[in-house]
Subunit: 245 residues, 2 copies
């Protein structure tokens, strides 16, 4: 900067900073993202759509703190592990006047560019997470049912999926955060198919599970199902960690 | 935000956004980071130290564009692949008045918090990269020789290393970006040791190389060396890509 002191006298980006949280769950059949409802007014017409839980950060808080606060304020979720995965700062992300007007009204301040820091969380959807979501106008939406979201939130979700793929290649344990404590081989396979976006051969997959020493077959089987009851498995974190050393 | 409209009337973070580039090279013996010199004045005393190539972004540019521009302006480097790896936004990163005063003088504007988006690039240090670096007061510094840098740049470099480890676990090819086109087994092993921060057994490593079908032994050997001349290898990207499908 002694060597590049704003040479061209261009205006510096005095941006607002926001955080957005991609909270992902798996209900045994579908990958779902936690979204919040948005109501706005544009050209005299009321509109309803959805967005990721996110908001501008306060002057006195760090990025990680802001992500935890905002997620809690908008969805009621607490103590959810959040990992920062990417900053989004394209000028185009605020090109829709609808988004800017909505935000300026909500924030009661002028808004120009916003750089958002995106966070990801993989959670067990069967935990008590749903409790209270309604009160916050938050809800789980299956990936394939997600329509046009506010700002560039569709892009953020797409990149979150790419990040999950890369991350679980290096850390296979991450996928088990999405599964219930007891899960069937079929659930695990479906999850692989959804995350990697391609079909997995059933027989090969059973071999693959057999080779994962940290996936432990249980005596317990499904109950009250129409088809042949499937065995349950559990993920053993201790064995996994020992193998990774 | 309809549900959390800045409830507590706290001041929003109207931050400056910067980009910082961790450009890493390997000279066959050491991992090196490209740093730029900084001269400032604090309490009437002139000081000299170093920092990552980085600067505030302009209002009209995207993050990736800004990273490429700033790296070029401060080091002369062009067409270097830059991957965003993390945003740093702690309040503490601008706690040293020295840093703030220096930046305000350079930028001729008031500076409060700065959120920086960090980029990483792994480059072949033996390319013509050094040409002109001197003119920019930029230089390669071995990881172990890096002293106290400006802002939180020591932390950013540390986290860049963590990112490289995770990334190369999933994409082993990345490490070869750091090696010259022809490299010895010993260079590859040293690189592994530096990146993963632990000793690698020589004999096991030769077995490991033999199993990497994309590392091709050449007929050519080192010349003019005091010790027994080592064979050269090259990385075959086509074979690698075929195997990864």
């Amino acid at each position: 900067m002694p060597n590049s002191e704003n040479k061209q006298n261009k205006p510096l980006a005095n941006n607002h900073i926001s955080v957005d949280c991609v909270v992902m769950g798996f209900d045994g059949e579908q990958l779902k993202v936690l979204l919040v409802r948005r109501m706005g007014e544009e050209g005299g017409e009321v509109f309803h759509d959805m967005k990721l839980p996110g908001s501008l950060i306060y002057m006195d808080e760090d990025l990680d703190e802001a992500a935890a606060r905002v997620l809690n304020e908008l969805t009621g979720l607490k103590n959810v592990p959040l990992v920062q995965f990417k900053a989004f700062g394209s000028r185009d992300r605020t090109k829709d006047p609808k988004d800017i007007h909505w935000l300026e009204r909500a924030m009661q301040s002028k808004v120009e560019r916003i750089v958002t820091i995106a966070y990801l969380s993989l959670v067990k959807i069967d935990r008590a997470l749903n409790r209270g979501l309604e009160a916050y106008q938050a809800c789980w939406v299956a990936l394939e049912d997600i329509g046009d979201l506010a700002f560039d939130h569709n892009l953020i979700i797409k990149e979150a999926l790419g990040y999950i793929r890369q991350y679980t290649d290096a850390n296979p344990a991450a996928l088990f955060d999405l599964l219930p404590r007891k899960f069937t081989a079929s659930q695990l396979r479906t999850l692989y198919e959804l995350v990697y976006g391609k079909a997995v051969d059933v027989r090969n997959f059973h071999k693959k599970i057999a080779m994962m020493d940290y996936v432990i077959p249980l005596e317990e089987k499904q109950q009250g199902v129409a088809h042949r009851a499937a065995r349950f498995y559990r993920f053993d974190k201790k064995i996994y960690n020992r193998m990774r050393k």
